[in-house]
Symmetry: C2
DNA sequence: AATGAAATTAACTTTTTAGTTAAACATAGA
DNA sequence: TCTATGTTTAACTAAAAAGTTAATTTCATT
């Protein structure tokens, strides 16, 4: 491990924070370097350009987002429990990276080339989950356990509720003067509510 | 009406489209001017700075968003019908300006001063609606028409489902190769589904 | 200790974009 | 028609941020 590894790592970490918070356009290489404790020439030494550094971060984030949309199922459990677990797991995933979905959505929207490269990843992850969830749903339907609903709608609703919980959180926090504890409570409350909303839609 | 009015209007319209699509940071004054069919010096002649032009647009958009969160109630109707109407109206509002919520959310997030100025508008609109919706909900609860739920959660879920329907639409469109008709169908489908999700949560 | 590659710095250049200015033009009203 | 005012243009400047370079330092290896 050469001494430069530490610098490179520091830049990557500072860049991740800066890009996730501000996006590519508003992030400044000088500010990333400052946060990493190095001169901004180092950033170019290790990553050549702001765009190349961004891609390094962004690729990982797209994979994270794709993973958040990937679910595994335990077919021995009741379907509603499976869905509750899926929705809860997705919520926790986003909770751990609250800015992730909007960040990826925004950057992909603002750059056609990135769309071409990274959309397929997300679409593939999505397709897998829809297929698997669809199989379980079909079985539950035949067993008369749930009301009919499109699989894609079910998944879309879960994602919508969970993502939006965090998309506006920093703003809600300021708007209502919430402290750390308020936020924790709000998030816990929304987690339970989102799951309840989804289960209500399925219950007969 | 002086001849400059047309120029000013053309710039405003081009700016609105550009800002909503790209955000303040990525929007270029030269590109706005080009789209408006004038030189970019004209933009500064009429609006002084990019920021001042942006504020002109942004203020209106925040008001639009606040209005989208404002609901009136017809107390003679069954509560579930009122909620369905509210959710549907909100959906249609966002459908007419699909980029509006994310645009305002993003810009407010990236600028502290704007947060200070514009958040109270949104918070006020929200408070009014929560209060009114809360009164109706309480009555419906006493009448045994619905299951208990926090008013703020109910409203938050409606907004989440409706906003996310459009936040990812341009991307979903490209990802799944949807044409105009596919999009129309998807939107109509989501409108019905979002309302059904909300009503399911309320029904006993 | 000498060497050389990797790492770091400070100062520089380039590029992009916002913003300015002075001169030309248009037009309504005296 | 003359003039004053508002409008438009082309060419400019200013500022900010990305990116480069050459000189210097560090440090592992011989």
């Amino acid at each position: 491990m050469s001494r430069g590894d530490h610098t490179e790592q520091a830049i990557l970490e500072a860049a991740e924070a800066e890009f996730l918070d501000k996006g590519l356009a508003l992030a400044k290489t000088a500010e990333i370097a400052r946060a990493a404790g190095v001169t901004h020439a180092m950033l170019h030494y290790y990553f050549r350009t702001k765009e190349k550094l961004f891609e390094k971060i962004f690729e990982g984030k797209v994979q994270d987002l794709a993973r958040s949309l990937t679910a595994t199922f335990d077919e021995t459990q009741p379907f509603l429990d499976q869905v509750a677990k899926l929705a809860g797991a997705h919520f926790d995933f986003i909770a751990a990276q609250p800015r992730l979905p909007m960040f990826v959505l925004n950057e992909i929207h603002h750059n056609e080339e990135r769309r071409k490269i990274y959309l397929p990843m997300l679409v593939n992850a999505l397709r897998d989950t829809i297929r698997n969830l669809g199989l379980q749903l079909e079985a539950a339907l035949k067993a008369g356990e749930v009301r009919p609903v499109r699989t894609s709608d079910l998944l879309f609703s879960i994602a919508s509720l969970n993502v939006m919980t965090f998309a506006g959180l920093p703003i809600a926090r300021e708007a209502f003067g919430m402290d750390e504890e308020d936020v924790r409570q709000f998030v816990a409350q929304r987690r339970a509510e989102n799951i309840e909303v989804i289960l209500s839609r399925l219950r007969k």
